[in-house]
């Protein structure tokens, strides 16, 4: 596979390490009263879609950026990739609107 790195262009997926669903960006507050309830789905439950999947890849043999890649799990087609930091910033900017990832 080739991953379209937002800064470096197409790079072989072998340069990257895979983590999983991009929902891992949305770490709950560990000091909140309901932390036990929020951490369980955060750590353990996954949509695991057959289709578009937003997922985290780390450019380990590259610039060490974490990326959010949008990929079709049925065809492996990749629709885009962003720096995870940009995604987080956007999430936070629109948090009031409830728009996630």
């Amino acid at each position: 596979m080739l991953i379209p790195h937002p800064l470096l262009g197409l790079r072989d997926a072998q340069e990257f390490s895979y983590l999983g669903d991009a929902s891992l960006l949305l770490r709950p507050d560990g000091m909140a009263e309901n932390a036990a309830e929020t951490f369980f789905p955060y750590v353990y439950l996954r949509e695991n879609p057959a289709g578009l999947h937003r997922e985290l890849w780390f450019h380990e043999q590259g610039d060490r950026s974490w990326l959010v890649v949008t990929r079709n799990t049925v065809t492996h087609e990749i629709l885009g990739a962003e720096l995870a930091g940009d995604v987080v910033a956007r999430n936070r900017a629109s948090r009031d609107g409830g728009d996630l990832a």
Binding site: L7, L8, R11, D12, Q14, E15, E60, Q61, G62, D63, R64, S65, L83, G85
Partner: protein, 188 residues
């Protein structure tokens, strides 16, 4: 100078070199390195007057050069300055940045061609999964090489440098040596 005898990454007193056909390979034990990372809201510095390059870039002037290593991060190279306290000098010229000494973190290998860029391109296609013809002079990138992570710097059309973990210097040398010897044998 400390009262300790330094050794090269390959473990001897003098840098190792190899010449085969149009290619020479040389261990560069005199390269000083320091990494620079921007702190929050820090302005982009210009250490030693360098205009730090953007993603994938390498730039050099007057014995120092720099390449992009990640967002807001660069590696500064001081040529023939391994014995100096290079990181301190870099830190001085990069106010507001996090600077880390990296001189001994890497083993550097310089490869030169006496027949223009073609042998360099042919060599690189056996080593790294990077489109070498797009990695023009003034480019640098990190990638994988035989299960190791290396920086590949295209210093000139006929020159490329490979920087990898110092501890793996022997394995890097082996990979480069085998590829060079086979390339030369194929050309012969």
């Amino acid at each position: 100078m400390p009262d300790l005898e330094p050794i090269t990454a390959l473990g001897s007193n003098a840098p190792r070199s190899l010449s085969s056909g149009s290619l020479t390979l040389e261990e560069n034990a005199a390269l000083a390195l320091a990494s620079v990372s921007l702190r929050r809201n820090a302005p982009k510095p210009s250490p030693f007057g360098l205009d730090l390059p953007g993603p994938g870039g390498w730039t050099g002037s007057q014995g120092v050069s720099a390449f992009w290593t990640g967002p807001g991060q660069w590696m500064i190279e001081g040529h023939h300055r391994a014995d100096s306290d290079f990181a301190v000098e870099v830190a001085t010229s990069c106010p507001g940045c996090s600077v880390t000494e990296q001189t001994d973190g890497f083993a550097a290998f310089e490869i030169r061609s006496s027949m223009g860029e073609k042998p360099i391109l042919r060599l690189m296609e056996k080593l790294v999964n990077i489109d070498a013809s797009r990695l023009s002079a003034g480019s640098a990138t990190r990638t994988g090489l035989e299960h190791m992570s290396v920086f590949v710097i295209r210093r000139a059309p006929d020159r490329v440098a490979v920087l990898g973990m110092r501890s793996a210097a022997g394995s890097i040398w082996h990979a480069l040596e085998v590829a060079i010897l086979r390339l030369n044998a194929a050309a012969a």
